[in-house]
Amino acid sequence: MFHMPRLDKRAIPGLFMALTLSACASLPKDGGRADVNALLAKHGRQMEAPAEGGIDALVGQMLKEPLSAENAVRIGFLKNPKLRAAYARLGIAGAEVFDAGRLANPSFSASFGFGNAAAGADKTALGVAQNFTSLLLLPSRSRLAKGEFERDQQEVAQEILDLGTNIETEYFTLIGAEQTLAMQKTIADAGESAAELASKFRDAGNISLQELSLEQAAAAESRLGVLNSEAAAQRSRHTLNRLMGLPADTKWPLPDTLPEPLKENYAPEKLADLAAANRLDLAAARRKVELLADSLQVTKNFRWLGNVEVGVEQEREGAGRMTGPTLALELPIFNQGQGAIARADYMVKRAAAEVDELEAEIRSAVRIRHAEVKAAGRRALEYRDHLIPLREKVVAETQKQMNFMLVGVFDLLQMKQQEYAAYLGYVEALRDYWVARAELKREVGVPLPCDLANATQSPEQTGSESQPKSDHCHFGENP
């Protein structure tokens, strides 16, 4: 008489649950998409799902007006294949959850022996066996797989959020590039006019070849500036089209200018706290630690449990029948699972360290981006409020000197070029500001508090004419 192996009492309800679960567990209908969209909504992105033919109509509508950052992201979420890949990945994870919740199939064995005269009657052996370990582990495996599925949802959501930020970053980069290009064209036009004027002086015999060449060389240099800017703008437009999932040559209107820096103040440490609390990749990393700890416990609990198979077998020989249970039991003689436990333990430790590392990176990144936003904003205001008006004053005063023939027209044109250079610097600073701000949003992971406060007007739509509702927004700082 053999002993049935002692079942862990805890496994009994588990057995019950497993049997019921295996009856109820099914593939999530949308592959987990709804859960991901809920996560995205919490992090400030509403996902749209127009009817199949409606996507192109909706996109076409949005591309008719000057593109806003918000619409660029909406289009990207509708058209970029990355989303389909991400959701499919999620579906794979969902299928794994399904598999984890099901018992392994039993196996059926049959053997036939055709005897010769000496052997006597034919022998037939039939058997059915079920892996018992899988039954015992079913609740744990199911629970862990569900946890993994949630982690996958967080990671997919993070991927989609990153796409959104990339689109925003490229959007501001593009406007900056186009604005710079427009300025470079103005500079080149001024250079052309100066060179043309110089050739008139040369025609009259009033300047030397050397002086003429100097003016023409300056004009050629500014044309080079245009060529460089054109290339940068093209690159940016192609990149944005790709990120939005549109064909490379799709044309659409764009605002002419970047908006002014926003009047907002953040306590950088509070933003870092916000990021640490809300970043999905950090949440996924923390979840991983929990799941690995759970897994470690399961490993410890079942360390003595190897492969166990129970079954039923019947042997037929002639008219004789022999029926009885079968048991295959792995004996933990050479290996009692120490390696598995150790491995699981270190995996927990590693995951915990990785959480700390990731949190430190995130906090640091928030601080860095915040500093960049602040610095670029200050630079832009310095250009706008001081350098540009001063350069304009220099031009006006130099014009007065020219009126009295105290300086020549080339001196005046040089002052004008310096004014243009100041404006170029301003555009660069503005672009740096908005790009850094988009990156800051990525690092924080949730909409910035000041954007939420001004939710009725999106910053990109107010442009440079109006300011957000409140004159100044403070978060976490005494104003």
């Binding site: 008139k200 002086f201 009259a204 300047i207 027209v409 005046l412």
Partner: protein
């Protein structure tokens, strides 16, 4: 018996007292310097736009008091600057005396730095010569020094600092020292004018001259004024006019008078004997020199100016591109897109410039005069700097220095237009 005292009264030479106080020696603008009390002694000089320093008699010594100080000076309406001068003006007041006088000149220093006064051309003891450090200790700010010496010559002389000379001269510190001959003029002079030549680096848009400039100056002046603010030299037809000119600028000036051939009658060493007189229309006055010229006035408006053409313009641009002959018609519009105030100038020369600056809409830097100014009876004069007019009329009263307006040329004595066709007359022209 007529006592000497009575004799003096009879001849109008009332005593020293009233005359010697010199109370009325300051020029009212259009009145003669007080001539009645000085009749027989000398015709007081008229300093263009200037004035003569009064003196006190103290025990037979003529005592003058100069104050060296910063002054707020106007070169012409539209251009003022912080300059340095004496007793509130640049140039300082004329010191006028007679050969043989013992003079005492008190000098109070209200400048921010030390100064001294050198009496240019005077024969005097070494210790009175006024070279700071050499003849005397520097006059420190706040101090008053007394110079005293007997005048042993007559003629046209000057006074100026001899401490930190380049700076103090650049800011305008100078004055004339006129010594009349004891026995009166050998040839009676009816009008005796004097002025100093000078140059200033008052850069456009600034309010203080730059003392470090050596050759490229901005303003050229007679008695620290530029045209159109320089007084005219007025005379009656037939009067004998003397003009005394001193040069404490940094360049030599060929001074040219229209309408007459004048005689150069004296220089640094006083009046020359007649055999030394030169008949000129232009006299070059070198730096540090004085020259007297004399002529008999003939009726008309006669330009009187330095013949260096850039010295008869107000501030000019140095090394600007040459716009004469440059056709900007195609490109001017494009430049106006970048520079709304831009206007092509000078293609056909510079004469149009005065109209441009006067029509409005083309302002210059603040505190800066246009290069070319002045309107005459027949149009723009287009002048500045070292330029004025000698105005002689038949009907000007002796001692009347008021501006008689413009000379009305008789119709037969004014050039008249006879054609507007450039090919008129087909005269011979070299090819």
């Amino acid at each position: 018996m007529i006592f000497r005292r009575d004799f003096l009264k009879l001849t109008g030479l009332t005593g020293a007292a009233a005359y010697m106080t010199g109370a009325t020696a300051v020029n009212a603008k259009d009145q003669a310097p007080d001539q009645t009390k000085s009749a027989g002694r000398y015709t007081p000089v008229r300093s263009l736009n200037g004035w003569t320093l009064p003196h006190k008699m103290k025990n037979g010594v003529k005592e003058f008091h100069l104050v060296a100080e910063e002054v707020d000076h106007e070169f012409a309406p539209g251009s003022r600057a912080k300059c340095w001068g004496y007793n509130g003006s640049t140039p300082g007041p004329v010191i006028e005396a007679v050969e043989g006088d013992r003079v005492r000149i008190l000098v109070t220093n209200r400048l921010p730095e030390a100064t001294s006064i050198h009496w240019h051309g005077l024969l005097l003891p070494s210790g009175m010569d006024g070279v700071g450090g050499l003849s005397q200790p520097h006059i420190q700010p706040g101090e008053t020094f007394a110079y005293e010496f007997t005048l042993r010559q007559n003629g046209t002389h000057m006074y100026h600092p001899h401490v930190d000379e380049m700076v103090q001269l650049a800011f305008g510190m100078m004055g004339m020292f006129i010594i009349h001959p004891k026995g009166g003029e050998p040839t009676p002079i009816d009008r005796d004018y004097c002025f100093l030549l000078h140059n200033w680096a008052l850069h456009p848009g600034t309010f203080r001259p730059d003392p470090s400039v050596m050759t490229d100056f901005d303003l050229w002046t007679f008695n620290s004024k530029v045209f159109p603010a320089i007084e005219p030299l007025v005379a009656r037809t037939g009067e004998r006019v003397r003009i005394r000119i001193g040069n404490l600028s940094m360049w030599n000036h060929p001074i040219h008078l229209h309408g007459v051939q004048f005689h150069v009658t004296g220089g640094d060493g006083g009046r020359w004997p007649q055999s030394f007189w030169r008949s000129e229309v232009t006299e070059l006055i070198g730096v540090g020199q004085m020259r007297d010229i004399e002529f008999v006035a003939v009726p008309g408006d006669w330009a009187f100016h330095c013949h260096m053409s850039h010295h008869t313009m107000n501030a000019m641009g140095h090394q600007i591109p040459n716009t004469v002959g440059v056709d900007q018609s195609g490109v001017e519009g494009k430049l106006r897109d970048l520079l709304p105030g831009y206007m092509a100038m000078g293609e056909r020369g510079m004469s149009e410039h005065q109209n441009h600056t006067e029509m409005g809409g083309m302002p210059g830097p603040e505190n800066t005069l246009p290069m070319m100014m002045g309107k005459g009876p027949h149009g723009n004069l287009e002048m500045g700097g070292m330029f004025t007019v000698v105005k002689v009329r038949d009907n000007i009263k002796p001692g009347d220095f008021s501006d008689p307006g413009w000379y009305p040329s008789p119709k037969s004595e004014i050039t008249r237009r006879i054609s507007t066709d450039p090919d008129f007359g087909k005269p011979f022209r070299k090819k």
